[in-house]
């Protein structure tokens, strides 16, 4: 079995860890990796595309299974919209397979580079969380290998406890080997998108809440630099699927060439170089200007049609944008708050970040609903994701500030999401998950992984 000692990073390039990387190609390789780990006394974690902002796919000093080679879409039925794939297949492969046949993954993340295994592990959500729930709610069945060597098949009916724990389990219970998903029917390759400005946080949140029932997707951009009466101002994008007949030529708009994001802007300038031009703006002054300009540009209320891929995969619009944050990289702080307390909590959080001189550079809001998964991050309310640049000099005060944020979120009944948050402590994590969920999880962990083979840096941080 070939292992390579490698340095791996998180998505934001703000954290690294060294590990022995093994790339399984067939299911037997995963068994062999577990055997090797047992023999050598090492721990194992799976890594998909490495798009987590934190330590979810890192395992310092242990074995990391790079699942990217197990990436086949093994079955696709365009009549029923049921697709089966290996865990290393990415959302990009998935939508490009199903979209030309008139289907779309019911839940996608802001980037299409994520793998299905990663989507299941983090139980990701999209801009339609309030309506379609999380990724896990569209899983018909999955198969997995447990560290005991057992192969399990789980669905909402069969092995339901494991189904609801492995999805959202961050790979801490077993390794997915295949996943069967239900796609959603499309009647056009386009969405109708409404863009409207909101003047403050209160209006921002009510626009999300009131807009949600009439739309299929809703997402807000929040100007993190605006204070005073304008605190929380921003822009809402609400999108609807086109009904049958609304698009005169759905076959044409659903063609792959009309979906794929162009690699050039203005037809000539390669986007792969764009992040270099963002570098000079990656500071407080630069991003303040960007935020102000963006708000000015968003003042016009308008409606337009946009291709699915262009609407959903905003993070892929500028390739390698995360490199523009420089050597220290970036982190994201995402908090989920009940609709009753969100305004109070985020007013406090945004004010604090401005007062400390460490404003977030980018804020994104979404509307959510709770789900039945064991380690759930969702609430009946909203989420706010804040990007922060990490530098040598700000890491200590930023760390202290985020601990204060955590306190505010906990006090207001909020939750966190471990595809994103990198600084949450074990106490905080176990406090919001609740005693019962943690106990249940530990029991399952003991059952699936009695020797403690599956461990990531994330696991050690929040359960270790």
């Amino acid at each position: 079995m070939r292992t390579t000692f490698t340095q791996l990073e998180n998505f934001g390039h703000s954290l690294n860890a060294h590990a022995y990387v093994i790339q399984p190609r067939v299911v037997e390789d995963i068994h062999a990796a577990f055997e090797l780990a047992k023999k050598e006394g090492l721990t194992v974690t799976a890594r998909g595309a490495g798009r987590s902002y934190n330590d979810a796919a890192l395992n310092g000093g242990g074995i990391v299974l790079d699942m990217s080679a197990m990436n086949l879409i093994t079955a696709w039925n365009p009549a029923t919209g049921v697709v089966r794939a290996e865990p290393g297949a990415t959302l990009e492969m998935l939508w490009q397979k199903v979209e030309p046949d008139g289907w779309w993954p019911p839940v996608v993340s802001g980037t299409m580079k994520t793998t299905l295994g990663g989507c299941l592990s983090a139980n990701i959500h999209g801009k339609n969380n309030f309506k379609m729930g999380t990724f896990g709610e569209h899983v018909i069945e999955f198969t997995a290998i447990l560290p005991t060597g057992a192969q399990v098949t789980c669905s909402p009916k069969v092995n339901a406890d494991l189904f609801h724990a492995m999805i959202s389990g961050y790979g801490m219970l077993g390794i997915f080997t295949s996943v069967t998903l239900q796609m959603k029917r499309l009647h056009s390759g386009l969405l109708t998108v409404d863009a409207l400005p909101v003047q403050n946080l209160s209006r921002h949140l009510s626009a999300l809440q009131d807009g949600a029932p009439h739309n299929d997707y809703i997402v807000g951009w929040l100007d993190t630099f605006a204070g005073g009466r304008s605190l929380g101002r921003g822009q809402i994008h609400a999108a609807r699927y086109l009904h049958e007949g609304e698009d005169p030529n759905p076959r044409e708009t659903m063609k792959l060439k009309n979906q794929i994001l162009p690699p050039y802007i203005f037809g000539v300038f390669p986007k792969s170089l764009l992040y270099q031009f963002m570098k000079p703006f990656a500071n407080n002054l630069g991003w303040r200007m960007v935020n102000i300009a963006k708000y000015m540009a968003s003042l016009r209320t308008h409606t337009f049609r946009q291709a699915h891929a262009a609407f959903h995969f905003l993070l892929d619009y500028v390739p390698n944008w995360e490199l523009s944050y420089g050597r220290g990289g970036l982190i994201q702080y995402q908090s989920f708050l009940p609709k009753e307390t969100a305004e109070t909590a985020w007013t406090e959080i945004i004010k604090l970040s401005q007062k400390r001189g460490m404003p977030s550079y980018l804020g994104v809001t979404k509307r959510h609903r709770p789900d039945k998964f064991l380690l759930s991050h969702a609430v009946d309310g909203f989420s706010l994701a804040l990007d922060f640049k990490v530098t040598k000099s700000n890491s200590k005060p930023l760390s202290a500030m985020l601990q204060e944020f955590d306190k505010v979120v906990l006090e207001n009944g909020g939750r966190f999401y471990f595809a994103k948050n990198s600084e949450t402590t074990a106490e905080t994590a176990q406090a919001f998950y609740g005693e019962e969920a943690v106990k249940k999880f530990r029991k399952l962990k003991k059952r699936c992984d009695p020797n403690g083979l599956l461990e990531s840096d994330l696991y050690r941080r929040i359960f270790g």
Partner: protein, 263 residues
């Protein structure tokens, strides 16, 4: 705070560089470990003397209030243990950013007319072969990972062969050459190799070898200078700095004069 506790995992805002210090229980090794831990690193302290090592680790962990120092008892001359122990340490501290080889012994023959093969052999076995036993697997790891830093503690004594201590001179000269070769191999893979050539330091080694010595510095001062050189990713340093002038002269003394000198 129990010593067996694992160190806290690193996060983007609380980064913890991971280091191994070999020969960490006393003198320069202890001072360097202390310095690295003060700077936020997680350090595996490896040494022969368990009681001294444990005492040092618990002292360091108490001052920082968390587990940053981990103790590993090991005799450098047991070469075959090195690869396994290295793997275990890397697993426990969660990776490896820097490897620092400090272990060394010095047994002067005690006179220009005295010869002692057993002592010479011990010095080469610890100072040179011990370093090679550890640095081979470490270099391989760093080469694959395309990152990392190796620090080897040589000596001003390794720059010339002198009448006073042929075995020690040889072991350190060999170490310098070995480190230089590693540097030439690894720089292209993004790995930094730093050769440190300390002058006299107030350590047990110096005390046992020649007693009180003028110009000797505290090991803490050397540790600070070595840490600075690590940050700058230097190749070779003398510590304290004035030794670079002294050694420049000594390195250039022609043999027909040097062989008549008595030091």
């Amino acid at each position: 705070m129990p010593d067996t506790q694992k160190p806290l995992p690193a996060t983007p805002l609380n980064p913890r560089r991971r280091a191994i210090v070999l020969g960490a229980s006393v003198g320069l090794g202890a001072a360097l470990s202390k310095k690295l831990i003060q700077e936020g690193c997680v350090v595996a302290l490896v040494a022969r003397q368990k009681d001294k090592l444990d005492a040092l680790c618990s002292e360091l962990n108490q001052t920082t209030g968390e587990t940053r120092a981990l103790a590993y008892v090991h005799d450098v001359s047991k070469y075959q243990e090195a690869p396994t122990l290295l793997k275990n340490i890397v697993a426990e501290i969660g990776g490896l950013d820097a490897f620092i080889f400090v272990a060394g012994v010095n047994y002067p023959p005690g006179g220009m007319d005295k010869y002692n093969f057993e002592n010479d052999r011990k010095m080469v076995e610890i100072n040179l072969i011990g370093a090679m036993a550890w640095l081979s697997p470490v270099a391989e790891m760093f080469q694959n990972a395309k990152t990392g830093q190796i620090v080897g503690i040589g000596s001003v004594a390794g720059d010339r062969g002198r009448v006073g201590n042929p075995g020690y001179n040889t072991s350190k000269a060999g170490l310098h050459t070995y480190l230089e070769a590693l540097r030439n191999r690894l720089t292209r893979h993004g790995v930094n190799v730093l050769t440190v050539k300390p002058g006299f330091m107030k350590t047990e080694m110096l005390n046992a070898a020649q007693g009180g010595t003028p110009m000797a510095i505290e090991p803490e001062q050397a540790a600070n200078e070595i840490y600075k050189a690590m940050l700058k990713r230097k190749q070779t340093i003398y510590t304290p700095f004035f030794w670079s002038y002294i050694m420049m002269v000594i390195r250039h003394i022609p043999s027909f004069i040097f062989r008549k000198l008595s030091f």
